[in-house]
Symmetry: C2
Subunit: 330 residues, 2 copies
């Protein structure tokens, strides 16, 4: 592989000038710059970023740490972040934690070892707090998105969880459902705490009672959603707001098993507009969290060195599963 030394030798100048020429330093004559660029092209020069990173003490890599890559929500976040970061010359190193705090710690250590320029993090659901993050990352810029530790410093990109849950619940009320339970997530995560708050607020604003017994905690996957769905049916619910998408799917499994018609006899609204929600029968009303935009916002926050918290709105998508009077068209 050709190095800047080779180019320097070929032109009878020093490597430093070549380096400066290639990195666009203004202290180099336009003429030399062109000559350098020309021979660099001719000799097939490719910059060794590893060496450059070592010298500079930081790399042009941004680490992204997420629970699972094959959740559409997260893969869209990645897509959004990657598009912005690539344009700015960064590459992304992606680590899955599979919801394990140990894997998260390992991933952060790896990223630190690679001296990444920054880390975009959505933490594992059962992480008790952000202490491990702070300890490992030190002063590496940290941008949290979706699942954030509020006490950790740095930029945060969050969904309008409370508002979204409020909209979803109010929608169920307006559709005519009356005993509305909720598939709540893990209270270790701020996002789910807020969704629960929004759900509660909507009930109370409508003069409906908030019943702690109708809150089914720790349900974010299909299986637990199914089990909670059975319990909700037994408890006499006629609707559920689900803080997740897959748990809502599980609840619909439960309805089908019990022969309960949705939306006529039971309404459901989920969160996270995963692709399947539009395709299943009944199609699932959900909250669109705009994951691509969240990823973009996280990338921008990193690039601009922002430290504030941005809230991405959530939008209700009304589909069949919450349409009590069954007037669904198309």
């Amino acid at each position: 592989m050709t190095t800047i030394r080779d180019i320097a030798r070929a032109l009878g100048i020093t490597p430093s000038t070549v380096s400066r020429a290639l990195s666009g330093n203004p202290r180099v004559k336009e003429e030399t710059r062109r000559a350098v660029e020309k021979t660099a092209r001719e000799m097939g020069y490719e910059r060794n970023v590893v060496a450059a990173n070592l010298r500079k003490g930081r790399s042009m890599i941004v680490g992204i740490v997420i629970p699972r890559i094959h959740r559409e929500f997260f893969s869209n976040c990645i897509g959004g972040a990657e598009s912005i970061l690539n344009q700015a010359g960064y590459s992304v190193l992606i680590c899955q934690t599979l919801e394990s705090v140990e894997a998260e710690i390992q991933a952060l250590k790896t990223l630190k070892n690679y001296r990444v320029a920054g880390v975009l993090l959505s933490h594992a659901i059962n992480a008790p707090n952000g202490d491990h993050v702070k300890e490992i990352l030190g002063n590496t810029p940290l941008i949290q998105f979706d699942r954030v530790f509020p006490d950790l410093p740095g930029a945060k990109i969050v969904g309008a969880n409370c508002d979204g849950a409020y909209k979803a619940t109010r929608h169920l009320i307006e559709a005519g459902y009356r005993k509305i339970g909720t598939l709540a997530g893990y209270m270790t995560s701020q996002a789910y705490v807020e969704r629960l708050a929004g759900y509660r607020m909507a009930l109370e604003d409508a003069g409906l009672p908030f019943d702690e017994k109708l809150v089914y905690y720790n349900t974010i996957v299909r299986e637990t959603g199914y089990e909670a769905g059975l319990k909700a049916i037994k408890a006499g619910c006629d609707a559920l707001y689900s803080a997740g998408a897959f748990s809502a799917l599980g609840a619909i499994d439960a309805l089908k098993e019990k022969g309960i018609r949705a939306p006529e006899d039971f309404g459901i609204v989920g969160t996270a507009n995963e692709g399947f929600t539009a395709l299943m029968t009944p199609s699932l009303s959900t909250l669109n969290q705009h994951p691509f935009e969240m990823g973009e916002a996280a990338a921008h926050a990193f690039l601009e060195g922002r430290l504030d918290t941005q809230v991405i709105p959530m939008e209700l998508i009304e589909r069949q599963s919450s349409n009590k009077n069954n007037t669904w068209q198309k």
Copy 2:
């Protein structure tokens, strides 16, 4: 940050010994090794992999280049590869091409610049051939999966495309459908060529005519699947084998629009067992390509330096969309 020099100084030895001790070189006394490990821990030492990579001329990073991360097929491949590679101490750098050859070239260059230890590639659909890959990558180990250039050297992990398409088509024939078209993909990709061949073989083995007019090329997304679906209906087809999953979805859109019942009057089998295929109505019969296993196989091929081609079997999952007599249970 503490370096091996600091540790060396603290112990009155040289950095080289510290390096050897930490990397498990047998030429260092057990006693020294323990001392080094102890002080390393005490001083909070974190190995600078960037420096190590520079010296060694290669990194412990494996690049993965794929068309789109949010296709379940690819995100599962990544998941499979990542799990194996992480265990072996590698990290993965992921690049999306969004089916653009230019982006693919850029991604490969970036990976080369990072001196990655190897590249796992599934090429953009409209890449004419693998010349750009060979030119950029040079002697960096290349493992191709799913979408491969047969003429490029190195390991390849492919699905049993021909066999899978054969199974799918034969299944439609056995179910009682008679005029079976196909939503073929792009003939620039070996995988789709083979699927078309399997489809044709199944027809001919059953004594049914192969009709070039019923082959709808370049359909792999929902929109083109929909359009091809309309054409197939007009042409009098009563079934389709789709070489993709999203195109099959589009074809079902077309059927619904025309009021044609599936599976009673029209059968469909797709490829790529995306999550939605099991959830939609009618649920879509598909071929499971075992993407997670493909990713694992690619990672193993890299780690073991294999150069051969492995074929991952495809398994037919019979669901509603191909069940002509509508005897679907559960």
